[in-house]
Amino acid sequence: MEHSTVQETHRKEFLIYLAMAAAPLTVYIIFFILPNLQTLVYSFFKWDGVSPEKVFVGLDNYVNLILREPLFSKSLRNTVTYTAMLIFFGTISGLALALLLKVSTRINSFFRSLFFAPGVLCAIAVGLMWKIGLYDPTIGAVNGVLKMLGLKSLTATWLSGGTEVVCIVLIHIWTFMGFSMIMYIAGLNAISEDLYEAALIDGAGRVKTFIRVTLPLLGDTTGTVVLLALINGFTCFDYVYFLTKGGTNGSSEVLATLLYKQMFTYGSVGKSAAISVMLLLVILVFSLLQRQLSRRDW
């Protein structure tokens, strides 16, 4: 029987390779890689997306946004506030819940499922239930409870004025907590019991053990959770756009909503793309940072 030459086998392998990888790669390249690259390119042009003229303007879009667009600095500030709160409260709440529920018992599994549930809900349904059920000035539970406690003066219209960003990020934290909890449970359970025994033998109290043993060993987990909270926070869109559309005069404008408006309301592809590139830079920088930090041996 004739054996195929090495070359023919190679060719056959290559064709199989091509056949298998071609379809998914094509979709990936056209609908993901290409648009992302185009974002970079478009950010250097002035274009409205419809007319055939594209004018190369170099860094003008960036300069105009940073220096001359008042909504940009507002949205940057709001986005940073939003992200900071999401990171801070998202990690702490997740860790606290994880500490309470780290052992895998049936009752703990039950509670874990409960705390994770908000993360499975559709953002709009969540936004709506918080908007009417809690934040509504007349019937909402927040004002309702305040009135019951006799603190009528503290009631407010939560989703307008200065309190918007905080109120919206609270909703986001609410959906993020369960995920953070699961991550920390995995992280906590990865810490060997021997270490706790050793700390006990060395006479360390519970607080000291927590600070000196547990927290450092949760470094990687915290890194991952923080990074995800950061990415979600910086690119947050759904809740803000649905609940306030950016608010009056940019009171709750965030970078992602500004980016969207630049394209769909003001028709400026270039500025929209410029904001996207800036977001991308932030994400890339912090992703690399987290990778580097997690590789070090502390």
Binding site: E13, F14, Y17, M20, A21, A23, P24, L25, V27, Y28, I30, F31, F32, L34, P35, N36, T39, Y42, G49, L97, S109, S113, L114, F115, F116, A117, P118, G119, V120, L121, C122, A123, I124, A125, V126, L128, I132, G133, L134, D136, I139, G144, F179, I182, A186, D220, T224, I231, N232, T235, F237, F242, L259, V269, S272, S276, V277, L279, L280, I283
Partner: protein
């Protein structure tokens, strides 16, 4: 003495946990409870249980268009998940099994793609879909979702495939196993949990998605559940109970599925982020 003290602490701890759980689920409970009242009762008795359960509210809310929204979401989700999983399996298989010069490049593209959220490529994607005449069509949404799910799904399946020892492959080859069979008879069955996890994550992602349909559909006929709910609350905002009912109609089905398959859901939605 020691045991009793520990027991009290335990009970205390679970009391706190139960309280926290109630606080966390409160918004959902509030929504459920008030969706069953009449408007009048809601205004007078907001925080309490309904005196009469008005199940008709759900029927009424559903009739305002949710049949269309659910139909669209079903079609788009099932197709997107199916196509992206098949694509990921092929891609992951090729990346693990074949050594070609292109592999590291493809792998890097996959990794980088995992961290990039849709807002970054929003504008060009919109223009692209428009130019391809795929606006307001299932294909536009499906291809987009497939492209966006591919990196993460490929990554975790790749991790799983890589862990399959070479001996199994060799044994299969000796038994005369062809390429396709190797994939379907050996790799896939061995990776079932990971594949299930990937499917669930993608399912939730597509099902609840708001951003892509917002950009890529303009007619009510093509809206998915999230956008449908926006349309709904824009039109019927005069009745808060109806709006609550609409929310419930939007989130309850998936929530029920979640409670049935909790473990798989939780594993699916966190699997990529947990290393190993």
């Amino acid at each position: 003495m020691m045991i009793e003290g520990q027991r009290t602490l335990r009970i205390l701890k679970y009391l706190i946990v139960a309280l926290l759980a109630f606080a966390v689920l409160y918004p959902i409970l509030l929504c459920l409870v008030n969706s069953l009242k009449t408007d009048k009762e809601m205004y007078t008795n907001f925080l309490g249980l309904p005196r009469q359960y008005r199940w008709e509210n759900y029927v009424e809310a559903w009739s305002k268009g949710f049949t269309i929204y659910y139909r669209n979401t079903f079609i788009v989700t099932i197709l997107s998940v199916a196509v992206s999983i098949v694509g990921s399996l092929l891609l992951a298989y090729v990346l693990t099994r074949k050594r070609f010069k292109l592999n590291p490049i493809i792998y890097t593209l996959v990794i980088v793609g995992m961290t990039i959220p849709p807002q970054i490529s929003a504008t060009p994607l919109y223009l692209l879909v428009k130019d391809l005449r795929l606006m307001n069509r299932y294909a536009g949404l499906i291809l987009t979702f497939v492209a966006y799910r591919l990196p993460f799904t490929t990554f975790i399946i790749y991790g799983c495939f890589k862990g399959i020892p070479a001996q199994i492959e060799e044994a299969a080859n000796i038994d005369g196993c062809g390429e396709g069979q190797l994939l379907t008879r050996i790799f896939i069955p061995l990776s079932k949990p990971i594949i299930t996890a990937a499917m669930i994550f993608s399912l939730v992602y597509v099902w609840n998605n708001y951003f892509f349909p917002l950009m890529l559909t303009t007619t009510n006929e093509m809206k998915m559940i999230a956008n449908g709910l926006v349309q709904f609350q824009g039109q019927y905002r005069s009745s808060y109970t109806l709006m609550f009912a609409g929310s419930v109609v939007a989130f309850l089905p998936l929530l029920i599925v979640y409670f049935i398959a909790q473990k798989q859901f939780i594993m699916g939605m966190t699997s990529g982020a947990i290393k190993g």
